[in-house]
Amino acid sequence: MSDKRAKHKSKYTLDKGIPGAFEGETITRRRFMTGTANGAGIIAAAAFTLPALGFAIGPIFKSNQHHWETVGTVDMFPDNNYVPVVLTVSPNIGEAGKTTVYMRKFNPEIDTDPYDQGTPYIAISSRCAHVGCPVRWVDASERFICPCHGGVYDLLGRRVGGPPVRPLDRFYTRVNGENVEVGPRFSVNSLLRRFSPRDPGEPLDGIGQVPHPSRPGAQKP
């Protein structure tokens, strides 16, 4: 009995009792043929499936190309009111690739947050942090108002009412001679601490940072 068990552990087909086995054979010819045919089939199928899958899933890992766009001259933007400018975020698709950004000069009396120091201009995204409708700056009440579900933001873009989960996103700004340039987008939490750009609806306060991590495509500039 133990003899048979020892024989089953051996790698030779002769010992396993397979009929038609040759001495010194470790794999039967039938098994070898079947395995080779299956392997070739898998390689052929992978040859057209993997590129197709890569096509579909690839954009998830594509990193955004940072570019800086000139939006106006240094005297176009006051420091107590917002001026809308149009930015192209996706090239070559016409109106669908453009977004509105509200620009204001940095004001040390208003922008007292420690995270904000050093920015020449404040550029606030018009994309609501709830589900992405375009918000509108209302000068009379000094608020950004979202028409879709009633989100309200204050002068600094912080949420003061409605369903949004974090303040409005901002853009990096710099001055190039006489021109003001707007760069990549970044997200902020309610303390105005900066994060890599997130989608609307992702809270970033406290525990909210854990289920909504930064994505591989969004590098910190």
Partner: protein, 269 residues
């Protein structure tokens, strides 16, 4: 597991069988009879080479339980709505251009205003999608309240739920295609809602958009999903769903008594 009883193919119903010859006519063959025989000959030619008439009888002349009522037509109504969407969709696809830089909106404007019956076909497609969603939910409700999801029909119910999800995704992807303001913002909102899911949400919304922003390939992606990926999956699963319905039969309504009434029972002589 007990084997399900094997039912033989039902015979041709009486109205479809050939009528007996009238007395005194000696099998007269006028033009009407010749036309009928020509039609039968064509069907016989195909049937001899495919054996499809057996499958046809199995599908169309199957037995249904006593108490079957009009609610049972909701499934066929959903199928009809889907076929309407497929046919009108094919004709719309002949004119539509998936170009986000203005060509998409222009092609739909052309279909609506300048093509003969274009407004009608586009309207059938647009309203047909709402009709289909309503019918899908009514059919699902009927199946649930009749208890028609129980053994051995659980797999059919699962396929039905997958069909519901595919129908919803069809509606979502199709909504973007006219590329007007409503379509664009509804898609932005819908994709962002997907992105709020923890951990994997942003990856799902990136997959739908084709990137982290609404870009050049987003409209093409939605169009390919709406025209190719989902109709293929829908047709395959509807075929499986219909096969299971025919094979397993339909159930009687829950209030139907299992015993036949006294006068219909056979009596041992």
């Amino acid at each position: 597991m007990p084997r399900l009883p094997k039912l033989s193919a039902p015979p041709l119903p009486a109205p479809l069988q050939a009528p007996p010859p009238r007395p005194g006519e000696n099998g007269k063959r006028g033009p009407v009879e010749e036309t009928k025989e020509a039609g039968i000959a064509v069907v016989d030619w195909v049937d001899e080479r495919t054996s499809l008439s057996g499958a046809g009888r199995w599908l169309m002349f199957r037995k249904v339980p006593q108490g079957t009522n009009w609610f049972y037509t909701l499934g066929s109504a959903t199928l009809f709505a889907f076929l309407n969407q497929a046919v009108t969709g094919v004709f719309l696809a002949m004119y539509y251009r998936p170009d986000p830089a203005g060509g998409a909106y222009e092609s739909i404007r052309y279909v609506t205003n300048d093509v003969f019956l274009g407004q009608f076909v586009r309207g059938m497609h647009k309203w047909g999608s709402s009709v289909m969603v309503v019918l899908v939910f009514l059919h699902m409700g009927r199946t649930f309240f009749w208890g028609a999801y129980k053994y051995p029909r659980e797999l059919n119910w699962v396929i039905g739920v997958v069909l519901l999800i595919l129908t919803m995704v069809m509606s979502f992807t199709g909504y973007l295609l006219p590329f007007d303001q409503r379509a664009y913002w509804a898609t932005i909102v819908g994709v962002n809602i997907n992105g709020t899911g923890p951990l994997l949400g942003p990856y799902l919304s990136d997959f739908l958009r084709g990137g982290s922003e609404f870009g050049a390939t987003t409209l093409s992606r939605f169009y390919a999903i709406h025209m190719l990926l989902l109709p293929g999956a829908l047709i395959a699963l509807i075929g499986a769903h219909l096969y299971l319905v025919t094979k397993l039969g339909t159930t009687a309504p829950p209030w139907q008594k299992a015993e036949a009434p006294q006068e219909l029972r056979e009596v041992e002589v």
